[in-house]
Symmetry: C2
Subunit: 427 residues, 2 copies
């Protein structure tokens, strides 16, 4: 296919992806599940695990895909487009991120977060050690250290944006429960992303490279926080008009900072999502963040993120789990994820004195991996840290833990619709 | 470059494009010119006409470009992304398009539009005949019929969205002058696009193909107007909540209709922009169009359209105009464009009794080609209807006619800022 044919085809794919996501979404809504779950599942269904399994020729026609990348295919634009979608999304997450909330109930937040981080990390790292030693499921290039760190980090992750939105929608943002949950979620995700950065930095294999990556990251954070943040804060008054409305230039400045951040962290061997997130976090919360979010979020969530879900799904081959042993491994990872995160957070919340119901609610929320898990494991697959089998297993883990949240809320009689709506609003 | 490297690079390009557009925009604003002019010019500057002329190695590094398309380069994602941006933009234009305004002052609208269409078409077609007969500027594959039709159509085009927005901002929307200008602009653009469709349909060379294209187009229009429009109108009440707010599903339905329309018109040999435009026009004006526009326009205009301007600029080689003769041709085309459109509309407006100043204002507005011209000539280049030389000439024509609008308004003391602001708001 040449560029023109690919562009024509791109529109057809967009229509298929959007309609499939909404169709699955209608079913999901009946079951009280948010749209994000439907989109995660739709991505998998459109890939080789379902569409390609039953209608391989049709699938090949709709999504021409060349793993060797020797011809122009769907990947050549779906990958950049989905990376752009992810970067825009993480940029929004960064703008909404507030580490300062941790300060308010510091001790409880830290207690819950440490419990909900150590347990999954230890279980994940332990599983990684076992898999690394007794199976061939990790690629040859991956060391035990990286395997343990990566699986540990991917267990630690939380669907932070979803969690924050649900707490906000339930009017719990000022409450002790809300503050503790958001604080703990923030710490957990920040730690998990740092661990991932460490894996990516170490993965190049030699010490000077790792030093370059980590040094670059430190330089970047310093640059963003000490230079870009105050600069943007000063610029803000030129970018906002009398009615507190952000100018077009203000939006473009924000997008340019995002793009530069994404490029820089990508160039130093980390990943675009870090830079986009930090770019978002470097903008002072106020009219500027509010208006940027308002203007970029709708198209990002409605159009670009489904492209990412599809890209991720095209890489997912559930069929690779073709033995009882592999399904056993999948079950173990799932169990470790739920025990380590959901149960540990629930117990920790109980221990810090929250009532049973709310503690269980926090456990379910923290346990839900949502889109964040897909992001982290796609990076792992893309860099060759994990194999297709482990990727498929972790996709199942991400879907199942996210699926679990709504029924648990349902059982707790904590208005199921609020959960689904909040998650829809923010993926 | 592999996909990952391209994706990394994409972020750097985005930053370069956005910052360059704003930098040129700052200068343009000082001169009372709208951002769209700055972006048209920036696109050209980033291409081989300036950046590539003076710093070829840097340009090659920032925008790796392989005309033969045999390797993975910037084009492989910049083209689909810019097509997506265009489709979204034309979708918005379609949602704002109202042919029914013509009804109100039918006679005057038609008089002005016919004048402002016949004159440029005849001049354009005449020039095309001359160029076709005495030079080798049209590609061999292009027939005289197609050359005349294409050049005629590209002379007829008007920056309709910009014109509509300026009239709206000046509070002239209900006035005779406003209605006539919008009506005439709408008829002219609709005709020009029909002519382009005719060229594209004829360009495949054989009669059965043309019948297929035209039949497909008629079928498509009938389908959109007789089936999709009433269907969407019925669906609307399920997609809008009590507060007249469009649901997320409503936005996605709109986007899916747009994508299907773009794909269909592309597949029958026309171009995605037709389908996207008609998809927009098939949605009843109301809360649904208002909310879709509000949600997709900001990111489309701020991020995706600059990608199109750059893509267009990378294809523009002003350096191809390397002889006095070619610059003479360029001058002739420019003169024909201004005489045919600007002057003819001014005279027609005078003849229908509008005062001198307002008639001149209408002439300047109708004369301005804006982004619409770039869209039409990019299609021509992409399909091989016009050569790189004619493309470069028409880019200059588009830029100059758009540049002219603001100073003329300025001289008329019709608040220059309103023009620039209105154009900024809607490109």
């Amino acid at each position: 296919m040449n560029n023109v044919e690919l562009a024509v085809h791109f529109f057809f794919q967009i229509a298929v992806i959007l309609l499939a996501c909404r169709f699955v979404g209608l079913i999901a809504r009946r079951l009280g599940q948010p749209q994000v779950v439907a989109e995660m599942i739709t991505g998998v269904l459109l890939g080789p695990s379902f569409f390609g399994l039953f209608w391989p020729e049709w699938q090949e026609w709709v999504f021409p895909w060349d793993p060797s990348q020797s011809t122009r295919d769907t990947q050549s634009y779906l990958f950049p487009a989905s990376q752009l979608g992810l970067a825009l999304y993480m940029f929004v997450v960064g703008m909404e991120f507030r580490l300062e909330v941790v300060r308010r109930h510091f001790a409880s937040s830290v207690a819950v977060s440490v419990a909900g981080m150590l347990a999954p990390f230890v279980l994940g790292a332990g599983l990684a050690w076992w898999l690394f030693t007794y199976t061939e499921l990790f690629p040859e290039k991956t060391t035990l250290f990286e395997a343990a760190l990566f699986l540990g980090a991917s267990m630690c992750i939380t669907a932070f944006p979803m969690l924050a939105r649900i707490i906000h929608f339930k009017g719990l943002a000022g409450s002790r429960m809300g503050t503790v949950a958001i604080g703990a979620g923030a710490i957990d995700d920040a730690t998990a992303w740092c661990l991932l950065a460490l894996v990516l930095a170490s993965f190049d294999g030699n010490v000077s490279n790792a030093a370059y990556n980590i040094g670059g990251a430190v330089l970047f954070i310093a640059l963003m926080m000490l230079l870009v943040r105050p600069l943007l804060s000063r610029l803000e008054r030129y970018l906002i008009d009398r009615n507190e409305r952000l100018s077009e230039t203000g939006l473009v400045v924000g997008l340019a900072v995002m793009a530069l951040g994404a490029w820089f962290t990508d160039a130093i061997g980390l990943h675009a999502v870090f830079g986009a997130f930090l770019a978002g976090a470097s903008i002072k919360r106020g009219p500027m963040t509010r208006d940027i979010i308002r203007r970029i979020q709708p198209l990002t969530v409605a159009l670009l993120l489904p492209l990412f879900f599809t890209f991720s799904g095209l890489n997912t081959q559930i069929g690779m789990l073709n033995s009882a042993f592999l399904w056993g491994v999948c079950g173990l990872i799932l169990l470790a994820a739920i025990l380590g995160k959901g149960v540990a957070c629930w117990l920790a919340a109980r221990a810090t004195g929250l009532p049973h119901k709310e503690a269980l609610g926090i456990g379910a929320l923290m346990n839900s991996r949502g889109l964040m898990e897909l992001i982290i494991i796609n990076i792992g697959l893309q860099r060759g840290i994990i194999s297709g089998e482990i990727f498929a297993t972790l996709v199942i883990m991400a879907v199942v833990t996210t699926l679990m949240a709504s029924p648990i809320f349902d059982a707790l009689k904590l208005s199921k619709q609020v959960v689904a709506d909040a998650a829809n609003d923010y993926v």
